[in-house]
């Protein structure tokens, strides 16, 4: 019956075999191998983390922007502490006796046997003094770290900053330990994984007198730290610095792209802050100050502020009209200073009439685009406005509006392009017509776009129909590749031949004869053909925002730019001359008409300098 009884021998054999293997292993571990002997009870191992230097950041020309400076954290292991001379200790470190007691108490609470940070970021000078005396203080040792240093006070929003990890991060990613640093915004955050390198560890044998007696087990347990990868950003630091200079005393932003690559040449968000403010022990205090500033210097307007695009959006509606064949270059509309339809009136300014498409861009005629926009939506090709509206929305979104562009900034916003559901909710399913939506003809109303999206649209126009996703990093040193998407063309849904027509209009808007009605003559340059379009974003809270988009030169464009100046009024007043200076600076590296520069630099727009003194 029990024919498998013999199998018990095999089971017994396995048990004894494994027992023997374990006994042999233990014999080797405990008797033969000397690696693990820590005989004297006072000898202890100390795990000293080797923090790699964080990768450096350069600008597109290879100019250093961010580097590191050595700093030292004083660590304590409560279990190894012995009574010591606190007076001398406090003197060296410039701390109070109370701080010593509290910190040791805190360390004891955290762990009796593991090290905790006693004092953060001791300077090299203090460290030198302390090092000679360290033998007197068993239980203390110094851990080298690095702090970020900046070569200029510019580009804070691009570079971002580094801060200590919080518990949420530690829980999610076990690479990070209490007290470690992590990139919190900008390049520092997006490229954290490359910049941080890889931590290493040295295991030392330490004697009773707190002296390192050598590496443990010939360094077999050690792991070398890998230095972080250096990053070459796409920023042109001179242009960036110039942009920040121009935007001083103003609120708004400038985004400049290289159309042929999608590389960000400059990204200004004003007001900005000095990146040095968020480094080291002063960080916490300064952060609170910056947070409580009413002008929100930490807020990256270039990526997060959403404004209506204003008249710049007429270009898009013009292109859609051409593509949908409801508009031809020769189409003319009369304008008697306003657009009237039923009880609706959209005001315009005084200009000659009638205008064709090119002239309508040159003079920015509101009436013209109310007609174009209504023709797009009332196109007989579609069964109802619901379909034509969807089609219009697709076109708009193909320029990168109403969606995340997918830049390498983590905090970009996607802006707003309404859906038909938006109108259904307000007017009911059949309650809206093309006239209901007419404010979007001239870029007002329910549209929200970020300066980055506007610069990107400009690049798409400059490229005659496609854009590269804007990005801030050109190259990661070492064997790393940038994201594939930064090398892929994103095509708009407009055929490329239509672009030359609207570009003609943008050329005339800037370079038309004086008195011809051109709206953006303040962006005119003698030797470079700038193509641009002004805009004004309606602001229900005060003076309107001044917008200007442009690219240059007309053929083979080198730069596409969007300038926003909050409460600046018409686009031609402040935004256009600012863009003009930026373009000239980038293309020629000199300014031909210095008074334009003076004019912008001295302008103080809705900006109370007094209240911000403390941040300078």
């Amino acid at each position: 019956m029990d024919s498998f009884a013999n199998r018990r021998h095999i089971i017994r054999f396995i048990i004894i075999l494994i027992g023997l293997i374990y006994i042999i292993r233990l014999f080797i571990l405990q008797v033969v191998d000397n690696t693990y002997k820590v005989t004297a009870s006072s000898n202890v191992l100390r795990y000293v983390t080797q923090f790699p230097a964080r990768g450096l950041i350069y600008d597109r020309e290879g100019k250093l922007l961010v580097y590191n400076e050595a700093a030292y954290d004083l660590m304590v292991v409560p279990q190894q502490l012995e009574p010591f001379d606190t007076t001398e200790f406090c003197e060296i470190l410039n701390i109070t006796k109370q701080y010593v007691d509290e910190s040791i108490e805190r360390a004891r609470d955290y762990s009796y046997y593991n090290s905790s940070i006693f004092l953060k970021q001791v300077s090299s000078k203090t460290y030198a003094k302390l090092q000679e005396k360290l033998y007197k203080y068993p239980g203390f040792y110094v851990q080298a770290r690095t702090l970020r240093k900046y070569t200029s006070e510019n580009a804070a929003h691009v570079l971002g900053y580094v801060g200590e990890v919080n518990e949420g991060i530690i829980e999610k990613d076990d690479y990070y330990k209490m007290g470690d640093y992590i990139g919190i915004s900008g390049i520092e955050q997006s490229y954290e994984e490359y910049l941080r390198g890889e931590k290493g560890v040295n295991v030392y044998l330490v004697d009773v007198h707190n002296r390192i007696k050598g590496t443990y087990a010939n360094g077999r347990l050690d792991k070398k730290a890998n230095v972080g990868a250096n990053i070459i950003s796409t920023i042109d630091s001179e242009l960036q610095a110039y942009g920040e200079k121009l935007m001083k005393n103003k609120i708004g932003s400038i985004v400049a792209l290289e159309p042929s690559t999608g590389e960000v040449l400059a990204l200004v968000s004003a007001p900005t802050y000095n990146p040095e403010l968020l480094v080291g022990r002063i960080r916490t205090k300064n952060y609170v100050d910056l947070m409580s500033d009413t002008l929100k210097p930490l807020f990256n307007r270039a990526l997060m502020a959403q404004y209506p695009p204003g008249s710049t959006f007429k270009i898009i509606n013009g292109l859609i009209g051409l593509q949908e064949k409801v508009l031809w270059p020769s189409t003319k509309y009369e304008c008697a200073g306003a657009y009237y339809a039923g009880r609706m009136r959209v005001g315009c300014h005084i200009h000659r009439s009638p205008l064709n498409l090119i002239e309508s861009i040159q003079m920015s005629c509101n009436t013209y685009y109310c007609n174009v926009f209504r023709n797009i939506l009332d196109n007989k090709k579609y069964p109802s406005i619901r379909e034509s509206f969807d089609q219009w929305r697709e076109y708009v979104m193909s320029f990168g509006f109403g969606k995340y562009l997918g830049t390498d900034f983590s905090n970009e916003l996607k802006g707003l392009v309404p859906t038909k559901q938006t109108y259904d909710r307000v007017y009911g399913e059949n309650g809206w017509r093309s006239l209901t939506l007419v404010s979007m003809a001239i870029g007002q109303g329910e549209l929200g776009t970020t300066p980055m999206q506007m610069a990107n649209m400009t690049a798409a126009i400059a490229n005659r129909g496609y854009y590269y996703t804007p990005h801030i990093v050109k190259e990661i040193e070492g064997d790393y590749e940038l994201d594939e998407s930064f090398y892929t063309k994103n095509y708009t849904k407009i055929d490329s031949n239509y672009f030359n027509i609207v570009i003609e209009g943008m050329d005339l808007a800037v370079n038309g004869e004086a008195g011809s009605g051109s709206t953006a003559r303040s962006a005119h340059l003698e030797d470079i053909t700038v193509c641009g379009k002004t805009g004004t974003a309606e602001n229900p809270h005060g003076e309107d925002h001044s917008i200007f988009i442009a690219f240059a030169p007309k053929e083979n464009p080198q730069i596409a730019i969007a300038v926003y100046i909050e409460n600046g009024g018409f686009g031609s007043t402040w935004a256009a001359p600012t863009a003009r200076l930026m373009i000239e600076k980038y293309m020629n590296d000199s300014i031909s008409i210095p008074w334009w520069e003076e004019y912008i630099l001295n302008a103080e727009i809705n900006y109370n300098a007094e209240t911000r003194k403390h941040l300078e």
Partner: protein, 474 residues
């Protein structure tokens, strides 16, 4: 037919003595592990060692109760107990408390109970009941399915609690099945899958396919005992490989060696099948299926590894296999554990003299890593002694299981042996770096009421059955 015998005089006192020795050793080592100068008394109830004494006292009472219950209870109510345990395992998923990421604790007042610990007993009982049932044939498909259901239902529920270690324990019931006559080929197959899984993580795919081909040809040689067949088979494979290699070069297809061999294998397989049918050569198709299976497994390993295991589990396996270094995480624990044990030397540092095994250096010092304290303070003498006691203990339990007259008792006995064996091997193995870090307790040693009580009940049911073994006449 049954007769009454005095169960107290038939208790296997040797086993009971060993049990008490192990439990006492455990208590002393918990004292040493969490020794706190402010609470020097080993009876201090505010400390773990004081509490462990309470758990031990309770365990002895429980053992006594186990003995008072009628012997027939265990087999009659095996399924009921099993059903209740399954219910509790589901309940803990809903109402349980989460500790260290595993939702496996019930809280009643200030007592925390882990049903997973007790589910092993119920599973051992249910398995014994099923296998000992009249007219159950172990090697039928129906039985395989039912056995798998009995064993893996609790394992799956425990896995859902996120307690992988306790879930893995259930694989050890294979030992019971082996003793009860499950076909060797099933075990061999299982063994191959495990070996392939590990190899697939360590070696390149091409190495594995070459190894598998070698193994298959060797097996083929052994089975057929005709060198000529092996030679022809190898010839076909070499020829087709060479042809495909040349083609690849000529047409510059840029295929890697792996795919060339794979394709050659496909081409050769056609010839093999034709030859095997024409000349009536046996086992060819079976071996081809085996080869195909191993290729499939090497492919699926990456998928399973990346999709079914969590990050920390992948890490533990990688660290053990030496594929990844993690000096602050898993490796830190294992290193500290090895340092603690290794620093003990031949004779150890002496009771309460351990420096490495105080709580912060080695984690979970009083629970999962209690073996470190033994190693550090008692040295090789101590660890040798403990392992010897464990071996002798298991040996003795096998003896007890084998002398049972009822099949139910014997199978249950092997269940006890298997569960204890698994815990001992994995727990000690992880402290000396031979096994991955899986958080399961060392039987009778580790701090904790649930595990101590569960092991006590597990053991004493066997001793209870054993004490009455003479009641059954046959």
């Amino acid at each position: 037919m049954q007769r009454r015998v005095n169960i107290w005089s038939n208790i296997d006192w040797l086993t009971v003595t060993m049990y008490l020795v192990l439990v006492m050793l455990g208590w002393i080592n918990i004292y040493a592990a969490v020794y706190n100068e402010d609470h020097q008394s080993i009876f201090d109830l505010s400390q773990r060692y004081g509490k462990q004494l309470i758990w031990i006292g309770a365990a002895i009472v429980i053992a006594f109760i186990v003995f008072v219950i009628d012997i027939n209870f265990y087999s009659y109510f095996a399924y009921l107990v099993y059903g209740i345990m399954i219910f509790l395992l589901i309940a803990v998923l809903i109402f349980g408390l989460e500790v260290h990421g595993a939702k496996s604790w019930f809280v009643i007042g200030n007592i925390r109970i882990q049903p997973a610990e007790f589910a092993k007993i119920a599973t051992a009982l249910a398995l014994a009941r099923y296998l000992s049932s009249y007219n159950v044939q172990i090697n039928t498909f129906k039985s395989y399915v039912r056995i798998a259901a009995i064993i893996f239902t609790p394992a799956l529920l425990i896995l859902l609690q996120n307690d992988t270690g306790s879930a893995l324990v259930y694989f050890v019931f294979l030992i019971v099945l082996y003793r009860e006559g499950i076909s060797e080929s099933i075990l061999l197959l299982g063994f191959f899958v495990v070996v392939l899984f590990i190899l697939a993580l360590v070696l390149e795919k091409i190495t594995i396919i070459l190894l598998s081909i070698g193994v298959v040809f060797i097996i083929f040689g052994f089975l057929n005992k005709k060198l000529k067949h092996v030679g022809v088979g190898l010839g076909i494979l070499l020829l087709s490989s060479a042809t495909l290699y040349a083609l690849n070069k000529l047409l510059s297809l840029g295929l890697s060696y792996y795919y060339i061999i794979l394709a050659a294998l496909g081409v050769s397989a056609i010839f093999y099948i034709i030859f095997s049918i024409r000349y009536k050569i046996r086992n060819v198709i079976l071996l081809l299926i085996f080869l195909l299976g191993s290729i499939f497994i090497t492919y699926s390993v990456d998928y399973v590894f990346n999709n079914f295991l969590e990050d920390h589990q992948q890490k533990r396996i990688n660290v053990l296999l030496g594929l990844e270094s993690d000096p602050y995480g898993v490796e830190y624990n294992v290193n500290q554990s090895k340092i603690a044990i290794g620093s003990g030397g031949l004779t150890g540092k002496g009771f309460l003299r351990g420096t490495q095994t105080k709580f912060d250096f080695v984690p979970e010092q009083s629970t999962d890593f209690i073996f470190c304290t033994i190693g550090e303070e008692w040295g090789f003498m101590g660890t040798f002694f403990v392992i010897l006691v464990f071996i002798f203990f298991l040996y003795r339990l096998i003896g007890i299981a084998e002398r049972q007259r009822s099949t139910f008792s014997r199978i249950y006995g092997y269940g006890v042996v298997s569960v204890l064996f698994f815990h001992i091997v994995i727990n000690i193995g992880m402290t000396i770096g031979l096994m991955p870090v899986i958080g399961i307790p060392l039987p009778f040693f580790s701090y904790g009421g649930s595990s101590l009580w569960a092991f006590t009940i597990l053991l004493f049911i066997l001793l209870r059955l054993d004490a009455s073994r003479l009641e059954l006449l046959r």
